[in-house]
Point group: C2
Chain length 210, copies 2
């Protein structure tokens, strides 16, 4: 189901997609992989607001909220969707990825938000366990976790140090996450807004109804 081309709202979705790389490890591969998603979204004319954990100052629960936490939470709230990426450490997501979720407020800014998941692993099995645990966590806070999360296995072999991908299939798969996310927005989010616009006739931005 696609929104009619005559629709003003669906032709020019003004809202942003937030992408988050969930590790602060220097020179990490997760940000290299996520850069492909950012690039693909950018190519498709979507405004991307990117957060990289290497540049985030976040506090643990019970401590005062940082400015970065406020900035992150506001950006997620204002977004049409989120792409959340984590490397696999110890068969699950990173402490930093969890800390990011812990900084998104109660109720979480992820509540009702479409969230696409990206897992990155050095090993051959990939980040399947990480993605399952992220799905559980994001679902718990009320996010609309999208089907078809992407797991990149053997990341050190398929991505070069400079961030280029040397495996076309992997690159297509990763870029596909941008497509998955946009497709969900086109098929479910925009129509919902369109219909609400028709019925109510008000001027609320579509993402506020997600």
């Amino acid at each position: 189901m696609h929104v009619a081309a005559t629709s003003k709202v669906s032709k020019k979705p003004k809202k942003q997609i937030v992408t988050i790389s969930g590790t602060s490890r220097p020179n990490n591969y997760t940000s290299k992989v996520l850069a492909l998603v950012n690039d693909e979204l950018d190519k498709r004319g979507v405004k991307v607001v990117h957060f990289d954990a290497r540049e985030l100052d976040l506090s643990f629960p019970g401590q005062p909220e940082t400015d970065d936490a406020k900035r992150l939470t506001e950006a997620v709230k204002a977004s049409g969707a989120v792409v959340l990426a984590s490397p696999e450490y110890h068969g699950t997501f990173t402490a930093m990825t969890k800390l990011i979720v812990e900084n998104l407020g109660f109720p979480s800014a992820l509540k009702g938000k479409p969230v696409a998941l990206l897992g990155v692993a050095s090993g051959r099995i990939g980040a399947i366990k990480t993605l399952e645990q992220m799905r559980g966590m994001c679902g718990h806070v009320g996010a609309l976790v999208l089907p078809s999360p992407i797991s990149v296995a053997g990341v050190r072999n398929v991505f070069n140090e400079d961030g280029t991908c040397n495996d076309e299939t992997v690159e297509q798969m990763v870029r596909g996450l941008a497509e998955t996310t946009l497709q969900f927005m086109h098929e479910y989010v925009y129509p919902r807004y369109e219909l609400e616009q028709m019925v109510r006739g008000d001027e609320k931005g579509w993402s506020t109804t997600v």
Copy 2:
């Protein structure tokens, strides 16, 4: 199966049990619950080395290891077993609990170590999801995750602010985690050492063979 009362080693296990409270939130309930386990172990003559995340200075992967991380890792390595406790945030363990695991080295100090799990939640459902995810994580790094993890539900109702428990059944259940851990050591860890001592005749401490 119990070790014979004449056994020198099993009568006087000198090795410690490490207990870890995985949240730095001020005045948290997890440390109140874990205090009962510590008390029960203490009553049974076991040396407890307790770590409270409120007092731990740990860094994220890629940053220099802190003194606390070294101290924690050495204590876990020297222990006969570990009790790991986390509150449930967002349907899973805390970022801090994961950060603790991320600070235990590669291979992890938890590898081959008996680990008893304790989950604490405000809600009625308890910390079941957290315990499952902790089981996955600890199992992934090679820990011997003990059966019968303990989930404390509605923690704010059953524990008072001063740390006392007002529900005898819950208190017995929590104290039972000490029993579970010691029972595992008596039934599996000590006999393994005993047998090895008989066969090899060397003087290695039993916990080093776990």
